[in-house]
Structures are given as C-alpha cells and as structure tokens.
C-alpha cells in the first residue's frame, strides 16, 4: 500500500473528518454565543435606553425629520447624481476619444477627484469657490452647491463605470451599426450606450447608495434650518437635547432608503446574469 492510499482512506484512530468538521463548527457557534452573552451582561441597559431610545425625543422629531430632513437628503443626493451622471458620461466619452487631449483631460480629472476626500471638495465648492470668484452664484443656492460638489465627486467614479460598460459591449455591435450606415456618434447614442447602461445599472445604483451617505457632508457648508438634511438635523437635535436618540432615528431614515436600494441592486445583478444571451 502506498502513502497516498493511507491518506485517502479514512483513518481508524482518532476523530473522523466528519467529527472534526462538526467540532470546529460547534466551537465557532460557542464563541459567538459567548460574545453576545458578554455584551448583554456588561451593557447598562437602562442607560443605553435612556441615551438612544427616548420615545418623547423621537416623537418630537416628527414630522420634520421626514418632510424636511429626509426630503433634503433625497433632493441633494438625486441632484448630485444627475450632475455626476451627465458629467461622468462626458468624461467617459472623452476618455474613449481618439483625440489625445480629451483623453488626458479626462484621465487627470478622474485621478484628481477619485483621489481627494469628498469633504475637501465640499469645502472647495462651498467655501473656496465663492471666495475666489465672488461673481459666481450657484443656481438654487445651497442646493446648487451640493449638486455641484456631489456631482464632481461622483462623476469621477461614474466615468470609470460608464467607460467599462461601453467597453463591455461586444465589438460586433459597433461594426453592425457602422455597416448599416450609422455615423460613429449616432451608433454610440442609439446602439452602444443603451446596452452599456443595462450592464452598469447595478454599479450605478451602488454609486447612488454611496452618494446618499456623502450627502451628509452638507453638514460642513452651513445651511439654513429649511435646508438641513438627515445628519445635520439629527446632530443639531442631539446637541440641544443632549441625547443620542435623534442620531438613531436619522440613521434609521438612511437605512430606509439604502437597504431597499441594495436589495434592488442584488435583484438586478441576478437578472442580468440570466439575461446574458
């Protein structure tokens, strides 16, 4: 009998492979249960409830947390997304252009805005630009500022996503369109981009989720009461009441949006796996 035979054959002594597997899994569950029990035992539940779950403070947040804060969060995010999508599309097409300078400008843009913290761009757009160019007025005041800042940040990511989507459309599609007499631009608009968008819908939705969270950076721009979004709203109320309940409620409002979006993304991903021809 050779050595390999003895390894493949179940050993007669000690634990069998099946028993070992069971033991290892049992140990992992035991650690988990112990960790939960330790947390439950050590936490001061009364204090936690007092800090995070004050019903009367939570009540006092309504309806403004929805009608003002959540509404503004959605407004900021969607307007930033629209600006970012338009700019990202432009940059993606520049990146794929046969004209050298277009490619360079697009490449530099992507490297800069992907490499900078979003907060820095918010301060630059919200504070730097108005000081440097006093004549420039953002349309829509704070809303315009936020749309531009979020747009600048997300455009860099979206440009790369859109470029990948365009390149993922089979080469034969462009050839077929060109042989039917489409000009390169028309083929791009009518044939390639619609297909690219089907491919990149899941990553674009992910980008939307990220933007929801980045919209909280409005906090640093100095906004009026009516312009507050979830984070600022929660933070303000948390300081006036000296209690964390508003933070918890604001957080739940974010999840109200981002969790269903994440679900939609997963649905789209499994759909597009099936739809591959």
């Amino acid at each position: 009998m050779t050595e390999t035979d003895t390894q493949i054959q179940p050993r007669k002594t000690g634990l069998t492979r099946r028993q070992k597997r069971r033991l290892s899994r049992g140990a992992q569950y035991a650690v988990f249960v112990a960790a939960v029990a330790a947390f439950a035992a050590s936490a001061d539940w009364g204090r936690l409830k007092n800090q995070f779950a004050q019903a009367h403070i939570a009540e006092q947040m309504f309806p403004d947390v929805i009608t003002v804060a959540l509404k503004n969060t959605v407004l900021y995010t969607v307007s930033g997304f629209v600006v970012g999508l338009a700019l990202g599309m432009l940059i993606a097409l520049m990146r794929l252009s046969s004209v050298g300078p277009y490619r360079w400008v697009a490449g530099i843009y992507i490297e800069i805005f992907r490499g900078l913290p979003a907060l820095l761009i918010f301060i630059f757009v919200g504070v730097g630009v108005p000081l440097a160019f006093p004549d420039i007025q953002y349309p829509g005041g704070t809303y315009g500022k936020v749309a531009v800042a979020l747009g600048l940040v997300s455009a860099a990511y979206m440009a790369e996503t859109i470029r990948a989507g365009i390149q993922a459309v089979p080469k034969g599609q462009m050839e077929a369109a060109r042989s039917l007499g489409f000009s390169p631009t028309r083929a791009m608009v009518s044939i390639i981009i619609p297909q690219a968008f089907r491919i990149i819908l899941p990553p674009l939705t992910n980008e939307l989720v990220l933007l929801f969270k980045d919209s909280s950076l409005v906090l640093f721009l100095g906004v009026t009461l009516e312009e507050r979004e979830l984070s600022k709203f929660g933070n303000d109320l948390a300081s006036t009441t000296a209690n964390s309940t508003p933070i918890l409620v604001a957080g739940l409002c974010y999840l109200l949006i981002t969790v269903p979006l994440g679900f939609v993304v997963r649905r789209m991903e499994s759909d597009s796996k099936e739809a591959i021809r």
Partner: protein, 264 residues
C-alpha cells in the same frame, strides 16, 4: 458583364507585421454572386471587410457602384447604406426586438418615418419567413432565426450589394439550410452578392463564380464547376479534399509560409 458593382485593385492589408492581403484584384458585376473560399487565415474575411471599409486597406483601391470608397474624402456612411453586411455572429441589437432592429436603422440613418419603416420591416421579415417573430427579442431566437433577421435588417436598408461573412459558420448544422435558402432566393432575385463561406454545396449551386484564396492572394477563380469540380491548382485541390472529407486528412507539419491565423 455590365459595369462592375464591386472593383478591388491591388489591395494590400497588414496588421502590424502580418501581411494578410498581398495584392488582390477582383471585379464583381451587377447581379453576380461570388463565393470566396479558402483556408482560415487566408484573408478572405479581411477582403470582405475591406469592401465596406470595416478594415482600412493598407494600399490599393476599392470601388463600390462606381464610387471609390478608399478615397479619404468619401462619405463612408453614405456608401455603407448601399452595402448590406451579414456577420458570422449575427450582431443583432439585443436591447431591441426584431421589428425595432429593422426599423431603428431605417429611421435614424435613412430618416424614414415610423409608418414607412414599419411597413418595410414587415415586408423584409416576410421575405426571410419570420413575420411571426416580429415582437420577439433576439435572445429568444435560434441562431438560424437570428441570422435571417440580420439579413432582413440589412435588406430593409435597400442595399445594392450584400456581403456575407461566413453567415452559417456559427450555426448548428440543422439550422444552416434555412439561412442558405434565404440567400439562394436573394441570388435568384438578382442581388449582387459576395459570400465568404465554407458551404461548398451552396457555392456550387448558387455562385456564378468561385474565388479560391490562400496566403493573402487569389490562387484561382472561375465557374463553380471548374474551381470546385476540377481545380487547376494543387493548393485548391488540397483545401477541397480536406474540406469535403475531413476525416481522411493527414496530420501535417505547419509550414513557415502560412499566413497567421488572425482571421476574425
């Protein structure tokens, strides 16, 4: 032969160091059906793609319907409207249904109005026998059906010349017949056709002329009976014997003068 519909003069094409076409001269008359045959890597697909400028020739001239398409100032989009192209991989637009595949190019390129485009689309779908699939999406069709839709899409543009790049090579054998039947009908209707194919039966029955290519040159051309029935050149005989009876082929040494296998 009346005025040639397609005229190729001293055509050369290189991909880097790979000299794929080495001086091709070819004329195809109005209403003529020419089949181009040859081993893979012989440059036959590249030649076809040069005729509608999907590949830019390195040297030489191509005329289609009297227009020199290799002229740098030519409106290539206008020229391509007169040339229908059918691909090995069909290349239907997967995001559009069958009718939209036919109407969108008509409306965007030829600026036909909606009703006219729909009418011409329906006519051409009937021509390839797929009227009942008008609302289907390409992914739900068989390969043979997709290829017939692709032919209908090209025909809806009203081309004067049709180019076929191995139209049946990606099909399951039992689906080949439907596509060939459509092509045969097109030939009898008087369409000028240039067909790159491995279907010898089709070439024999339908072609007015067969062109055998190897190593980037035309080795011999003539009537199907002559080229396929009694080839004059050893290379043609060798190719045909391997094609017609692949089970009997011997294992061969690769020779260095073979052109690269970069054919798409």
């Amino acid at each position: 032969m009346s005025r040639p519909e397609i005229r190729v003069q001293d055509l050369h094409k290189s991909f880097g160091d790979n000299h794929v076409l080495r001086g091709i001269d070819l004329e195809i008359g109005q209403g003529e059906v020419v089949c181009v045959i040859g081993p893979s890597g012989s440059g036959k697909s590249t030649l076809l793609r040069c005729v509608n400028l999907l590949e830019e020739p390195t040297k030489g001239q191509v005329f289609v319907g009297g227009t020199e398409i290799t002229d740098p100032d030519v409106d290539i989009d206008a020229v391509r409207r007169r040339i229908g192209m059918v691909f090995q991989q069909f290349n239907l637009f997967p995001h559009l249904n069958v009718t939209e595949n036919l109407t969108l190019p008509q409306r965007r390129v030829l600026r036909r109005d909606k009703a006219e485009a729909a009418k011409i689309a329906a006519e051409n779908l009937a021509r390839v026998g797929l009227s009942e699939k008008a609302d289907a999406y390409p992914s739900s069709l068989s390969g043979g059906q997709q290829q017939r839709v692709a032919i209908a899409r090209a025909l809806a543009m009203g081309p004067e010349v049709m180019l076929f790049d191995e139209p049946t090579s990606a099909l399951d054998p039992e689906l080949v017949g439907d596509v060939l039947a459509v092509m045969r009908r097109l030939a009898t209707e008087g369409m000028t056709m240039m067909v790159v194919t491995h279907e010898m039966t089709f070439a024999r029955e339908v072609a007015d002329r067969v062109v055998f290519m190897d190593g980037g040159v035309i080795v011999e051309e003539g009537s199907p009976d002559q080229v396929i029935g009694s080839p004059r050149h050893e290379r043609t005989r060798h190719f045909l014997s391997r094609l017609l009876d692949p089970a009997m082929a011997e294992v061969e040494e690769e020779t260095s003068d073979q052109v690269g296998k970069s054919e798409s």
